[in-house]
Symmetry: C2
Subunit: 341 residues, 2 copies
Amino acid sequence: MQPPAALSRYREPLELHLRALLDTQQPPALRRMLCYHLGWEEADGSTADHTGKRLRPTLCLLACEALGGEASHALPIAAALELVHNFSLVHDDVQDRDRKRHGRDTVWALWGESQAINAGDALLAISHRAIASAAEAGLPTAAVVLATGLLAERTLEMVEGQVMDLGFESRTDVSEDEYLAMVSRKTGALFDASLALGAIAAGASSPSIESLGRCGRALGIAFQARDDALGVWGDESRTGKAAGADIRRRKKSLPVILTFARADAGHRGQLARIYSQEDVGERDVDWVLGVMDSLDAQAYCSDLAGRYRDSALRELASAGLSATGGRELRETADFLLARDY
Amino acid sequence: MQPPAALSRYREPLELHLRALLDTQQPPALRRMLCYHLGWEEADGSTADHTGKRLRPTLCLLACEALGGEASHALPIAAALELVHNFSLVHDDVQDRDRKRHGRDTVWALWGESQAINAGDALLAISHRAIASAAEAGLPTAAVVLATGLLAERTLEMVEGQVMDLGFESRTDVSEDEYLAMVSRKTGALFDASLALGAIAAGASSPSIESLGRCGRALGIAFQARDDALGVWGDESRTGKAAGADIRRRKKSLPVILTFARADAGHRGQLARIYSQEDVGERDVDWVLGVMDSLDAQAYCSDLAGRYRDSALRELASAGLSATGGRELRETADFLLARDY
């Protein structure tokens, strides 16, 4: 499935805005980590092009435009969302001890944990500087204050979600409700902020802002459920991760939570044994994949993602968007759920 | 020397404000770390009283009042400053592998590095939520936006300073200028923000805001020079740190930078050897203390602190403060330089 054209409409101005925020950063040891992580440079400082989908800022700009706002006023806010997202990736990689992300070395793997903590901290600070600068880009100060408070609140929720997720690592009895409460924070909160901040930048009413926020949160949960499914059943040539990758690294993602919850007592004991090992071998991965198949875990993940996508689309329908804007956001939602990478 | 009365004037409303920001935090695993680090609870959740001097927020409130502002409007901003300070402490302890701070276990020593990274991240996010809430406390939205941008900029500078400081660890040729550039960011930036944000909350003019910012920065550098001296020559019964503590942990603080820069070639070679060891023993600590004495390093640190204090006081004199407010800030500056803990 091809990404909808709307997803790339703001790529150039957004990338220019992000570069302007980071390009002159000092000292060089910090700038290097930021430009590497954002995908513009290789580790040796040579030019690269590994930029991601820039999904969150694009959702923000699409929402702003769909509500009749001026996307250029929202650019600093959109950039702030991308920086918050990247702050969380850099720190997550330290916390999860992941040495690779999308096939590239992670920041801590290259420059050590301490400097990676600094890189993440800097991204979060720069995001707040960016959002304050939206006043100079033409946004009323009351809207900037509203946006600042909302972004801070959602960033805090992401951290809460990460605290919960790390707490799951040592448990084998995480319920689906607990998983959803975690994911609503860890992933849903920033999708919520992405659409809600777009509405704030457009000068929308409180009900519209809240409705788009709920839409974004449901979309974020659906997105994460899809991501979790790809981490187990994805095609390596598309995702850059081997099939079963999230089983091998013992990640308590949705398929695993479901499998623990639905397996019979015998299988659950064996699962607990596998998930308590330091290293999970190929035979164990295959055995877990077999249990997941017997429990229809893949269909269950996809049903759950579909339910949240439907809920997101219902919110979208009542948010007072332009016809074109509404269609573009629906197409984007469909793509996020159907994507194979 | 007793701390001046002004330093404790806002202790109660400030502590109440900070508690309101953190007390209902979820999940419990996050709340526990925050309330422990802020000094209100022991690690087991029982009540404690280990709160610090709350220096930065107090400077902010004193500056606001000295410029005729209403301190209650500045409380959320003052609280934000204390939270940014604590964010940096929690992450610094992870980065420096320090297991104790003022005699208490550090957050990472108790709950692990990953959760400590989350605790620091949460404090930074909550600080931005707090500053946005200053609009509800009665501050005009334009002032809130200005304060948000300035705090973000200064927070970023702190991170830059930390990147530089970590870069010093592997070097033996750090110059005094490099040290000052680092400390101006790592410590000076948040003192700058403390006084400047107080001025913003008072609705002061740009020149007053800038002058108080420069005053704060000079004061911060003087404060750090004093802190560095106490880390080498402090009285353990007052500082909670053994004399020579910063030599034992091979910290590249001001006395060490000076000693490397001023020692003759023979001494410098021996110093480099000592600072390249994993563990620095008592005999080495004594030898380094002896070299420092022969170079008058203590007097040099105290002169440097005095010069920055004088520069801070000159800025203060031109900032248009009330007579009482000016006197209180001068007394506070004097105390920060004369303190023995």
